[in-house]
Amino acid sequence: MRIAAGVDVGSTQTKAVIMSDNGGVKLLARALVDTGANVQRAAERAFDACCQEAGIHGGDVGFVVGTGYGRYKIAFGNTQMTEITCHAKGASFLCPGTRTVIDMGGQDSKAISVGANGEVLDFVMNDKCAAGTGRFLANSAEVMGISLDEVGPLSLKAKHPVKIATVCTVFVESDILSYLAQGKTGEDILGGVHIAIAKRTLSLARRLNIEPEITMTGGVARNIGMVRALEEVIGRKMLVSPDAQFIGAVGAALFALEKLDQSFEFGIWRGDHAVSGGH
C-alpha cells in the first residue's frame, strides 16, 4: 500500500494530510497548526501530528509534497508545488465534478478553472490593490473588536447592509470606523463587508469562464456568511467540503501518490529542481 503526505504551509495556518492508495485512495489523517513565526517547525508539527493520528511512522510515508507560501521551508518535503495546482487537484477529489475553484486565502484570492482530471486550465489572482481577502475579514473583525468566527453568523443578521466601496484592506477599516461613528449596527456593517468581498470575488472569477460545479476552498469557506453572500451574487449553490481548509494539502498528497505510482508519466515533475530554485 502506498502512503503519501501533503503539507500546506499557509500564511496563518499550516495543514497536513496523509493519504493512502490501496486500490482506492483514502484520506487517513489530517492536522492543522498555527504557522506562527517558525515555518519549518510548524510544518514538522503538523506532519508529526498527522502521523500520530494515522498511527504510522514518518518513515512509512513514501513521498511528501509541500505547498503554500512556506513550501520551500519544508525540510522533509520531497518536492513542492504551488497551492494553485494543489487546490485544483484537491477540490476535484473532495468535490467531484468541480470545474471552478474559488479560494480566499490570507495573502491572496484566486479563481481556478479546473479540468476533468483536476488539472489547472486557467487561473486568476487578485490585483495588488485587492490583496488579502482573508485579512480583509480579519481586520474588519479586529476593528469591531469581535472574534473572526463571529463575523459570518453576525453578517447574516444584517437588515440594511452598509455600502463598502473600497477593495482596499487598509481603507475598509476607516470605512467601518466611519460607520461605527455614524452608529450603524455591527450586523449591517459586517453584512456590507461580506457583500463587498463576495462581489469583488465574483468579478475576479469572471475573468475566467465560470463553469459549474463551483467549489469554495480555504479557511474562509468555513465562514457561513461568506458562503451565502458569494452564492447570492453568483446566483448558484457552491460545493463546500467539510475538509475545505485541507484541500491544498489533499491536492499535494494526491500528487505525492501519483509520484509513487511509477506508471505516472506526465512531465509535471520538472518542478522538482524548485527545491533549490526557491531561495
Binding site: S11, A37, Q107, G132, T169, V170, A181
Partner: protein, 277 residues
Amino acid sequence: MPFLAGIDCGTSFTKAVVLFEENGQPRVLGKGRTRSGMKVDEAAGAALEEALSQAGIRRPQIDYVAATGFGRYGVSVRDIQVTEITTAARGAHFVLPQTSAILDIGGQCTRAIGVTDMGRVKVFKSNDKCAAGSGMFIQRAAKYLEVSLEDVGELSLRATHPQPISSVCAVLAETEIINHVSAGIAVQDILRGIHESLADRAGALLKRVEMKDQLTLIGGVARQAGIARALEDRLKVKVNIPPDCDFICALGAALLGLKRLASKQSTMETVASEYAN
C-alpha cells in the same frame, strides 16, 4: 472659575480630561479612559464619568465640553468639536512648550504636525494611504510574530541583519512580513526592519513639516512598541514623550474649550458656532 471637559474619541480608545481654571492657570482634575468599541457616545459618556469621579465633581458642574478625535461628531454632550490635529498641537504645546513638531502614531494613520510657538497648527501631513506606519500595523505584526507589544522594542534591538519592509501599503507590508517569516528570517531582524522603515516613513512626513532637532511623540501604541528609540537613532533627533501622552488631544480640546469660553468675541466663536449646528 469654570470647569471644562475635553473628550477624545479615538479609533481604539476614548479619553476624557476634566479641567479647572484657577487665576489663569488651567489644572487637570481628572482623567478617564475606555475602549471605544462600537458605540461612540456611550464610550464618551463612560470616559467622562470616570474623569468626573476622579475629579470629584458632577456633570452639571461642567461649563463646557469640547469633543475631538475620530468620533467627535458622535458626542451628544459636546458644545464644540475640534479635530484631533488641532487639539494635539494645543495639548502638546501646553505640556511641552518647546514643541515645534509632533509625530502622532495613531491606530489608523500616522501624522506629522508643525506647531507655532503659540500652539497653533502651522502645517500638517497625514499618511493614511500607507497605514504601514500606523499603530494597528505594529500590533498586527507583533501578534503575527507571537511577540507581546511591550517586548517589541527590546527584541528589535537584538537584530543582527534588519530586514527592511519596503512596501508602501500596509497590506503588502504585512504580506512582506509573512514572506520574511516563510523565508525563515529571525523575528528580531523583522521587528527591527519594521521599526526602521516606520521611522523612515515618519521621517519623510516630518520633513514636510520642517522638523528641527526635537520631536514630540504621541500615540499610545508607538510608545509601548519602543518606536521612540528607533526614531532617535534613525532620525537623529531628540524625542520627547509627554506624560500621559494619550490624553494630549483630550487636554488640548479642553484648553481650546476654555479659550472659546473665555474669548466670546474671538473669530473662533463665529466659525465654531457654524460647526456646532
